[in-house]
């Protein structure tokens, strides 16, 4: 385990029971585009759920750890954050 592991490799170790619809919503896409040069959620999200794709934020909710950081850390309070439906989302097996 000497070489650095990528986030994709880490996420591969986790079991998810993804719902069909997202529990994470960017409220106003315009804010990400025009007001938020750092797009800091794409950096601090521990599962790399948020990815900026040229003009829009892609939200890969299926790999979310449901930690809540994006809701608290978005400088524009621009993320509506709910829990996935009961029984869905991340399923930790150990830790």
């Amino acid at each position: 385990m000497n070489k650095a592991q990528t986030i994709e490799e880490k996420q591969y170790l986790v079991r998810f029971n993804a719902d069909t619809k997202s529990h994470l919503h960017v409220l106003d896409p315009d804010i990400c585009l025009t007001k938020c040069p750092d797009k800091i959620c794409t950096i601090f999200c521990p599962a790399s759920v948020y990815k900026w794709e040229e003009i829009r934020m892609h939200v890969g909710y299926e790999g979310c750890h449901e930690c809540g950081s994006c809701r608290i850390g978005c400088p524009y309070e621009n993320i509506r954050w709910e829990y996935p439906r009961g029984g869905h989302g991340i399923v930790f097996r150990l830790g």
């Binding site: 800091i40 950096i43 521990p46 930690c67 950081s69 850390g73 009961g86 029984g87 930790f92 830790g95």
Partner: protein, 431 residues
């Protein structure tokens, strides 16, 4: 599911389950709601569970609970880039009953604990999200769940819904947490042979060791890393205030890789295989961030009430004790059939009189202080490492000359005064 219970507990972590267990044991009709597939499936902890607070609920639990290892040694590493100054306490009184603490894997432990609550008579319903509290005439009378016809009613609702604490926020008990009131922790479980763990950490069979990592483990950002021994795996993780990650624009999983590959840590992990990756928030606002914890028909316990002592990495113990104190209060409230805020506020008083309120008060300004003055982690820990290296390197320089060099390393007279002041200030926030 439109039913009425004496009590609904939202969340089957240590706080909620402790509360449900105690209530069921006292003959209270209690519903324990859990949003995950099973209790523990949404929960993450570095891994240290304290014996005393768990035994206050289930005596000698360690004889049957799925624990990993009793901890006999606690090490603290003050790390620089390629060095570490280490303190440790190892004591064999921790290797025998009654023990001090244990490592546990939460998905296993929480399931076991919840089963115990069920044995006492609690009704556990998983895969159910509590969307909001049902409020009538200024008092909480139940919760709305995401099940069809999912309204459930109770005399009192206990919010044990974890660090995000969405339900207490909806009730106006606290505002949204700030990024400096929560730490984001990422960790990995690494599979490693039992015998290798014991050899590597200098342990007798079955014994465990914890290592807390300061300084370069978090690249100088306020936070800590940790490396804990489980039965046949290691837990390695790193947690920093969310505000620190934002300020320094650091990806948490890259920080975790940095720690794993740090030259002081890498040899411990040699030959291990990652088997799970986990991320979770830790409430670290401390005393000043404790929200309103009692209202008409409602109590808040555990992480949802910010009950974590970040300095001593205690949280699950506070969760359990808060759950137990909430249950005591509810049993009393039931005798008087009075679930008003005036009656339930007894819980807040019990909480503040207990070690929870006392310890959180003791360290009320500590996190804030070290966050505001980053030099402790950024500057002083590397300085300590250089001093140790200087003093213990035998190169023909006299010890007096070495002491002079260490003294010069601190910097100008102004910087020496600043260091002295910082030591005083640190003492003041920790004493």
């Amino acid at each position: 599911m439109s039913e009425k219970f004496d009590c609904i507990v939202v969340g089957a972590g240590p706080a909620g389950t402790a509360c449900a267990y105690e209530l069921a044991k006292a003959g209270v009709n209690v519903l324990l709601l859990e949003r995950g597939e099973y209790p523990g499936s949404k929960n993450v902890m570095g891994g240290v569970l304290y014996r005393q607070m768990m035994e206050d609920i289930i005596p000698e639990f360690y004889k049957e609970a799925p624990i990993e290892r009793p901890i006999v040694e606690q090490r603290f590493m003050m790390m620089d880039k390629e060095s570490a100054l280490t303190f440790s306490y190892k004591g064999l009184e921790w290797a025998r009953e009654p023990y001090n603490n244990f490592t546990v894997l939460r998905a296993k432990f929480d399931q076991w604990f919840a089963e115990k609550a069920v044995e006492q008579g609690a009704l556990l319903v998983c895969e159910t999200v509590a969307l909001e509290c049902i409020v009538e005439n200024g008092r909480v009378v139940g919760v709305r769940t995401d099940r069809p016809d999912g309204d459930v009613y109770a005399d009192v609702v206990v919010l044990a819904d974890g660090v995000n604490s969405l339900l207490a926020k909806q009730l106006g008990f606290h505002r949204e947490w700030r990024p400096d009131e929560v730490a984001l922790a990422t960790m990995e479980i690494l599979k490693l042979d039992k015998g290798v763990i014991e050899d590597r950490f200098n342990l007798e069979p079955g014994q465990g060791c914890t290592i807390e990592l300061f300084g370069d483990a978090t690249k100088g950002i306020l936070g800590t890393g940790f490396l804990y021994t489980n039965k046949d795996s290691l837990s390695i993780g790193v947690g920093t205030l969310l505000s620190g990650l934002i300020k320094h624009k650091i990806r948490p999983y890259e920080l975790l890789e940095y720690v794993k590959n740090h030259p002081m840590i890498r040899p411990y992990l040699q030959g291990s295989e990652p088997i799970e990756y986990l991320a979770h928030l830790i409430p670290e606002g401390g005393y000043h961030s404790i929200p309103k914890v009692a209202g008409n028909g409602v109590l808040v316990v555990g992480d949802a009430a910010q009950l974590v002592n970040a300095i001593h990495r205690e949280g699950s113990n506070m969760a359990m004790t808060s759950g137990r104190l909430a249950a005591e209060t509810i049993v009393m409230a039931k005798e008087y059939n009075d679930f008003s805020e005036g009656m339930l506020d007894q819980y807040r008083m019990k909480l503040m009189e207990s070690f929870i309120g006392q310890d959180l008060k003791k360290y009320k300004d500590a996190t804030h202080h070290f966050d505001k003055f980053p030099q402790y982690f950024e500057k002083y820990i590397p300085m300590l490492n250089r001093a140790a290296s200087q003093m213990f390197t035998v190169d023909g320089t006299s010890k007096w000359e070495k002491q002079k060099k260490i003294w010069r390393d601190i910097g100008s007279v102004g910087e020496k005064f600043k260091l002295a002041r910082d030591v005083m200030k640190a003492w003041r926030v920790m004493k």
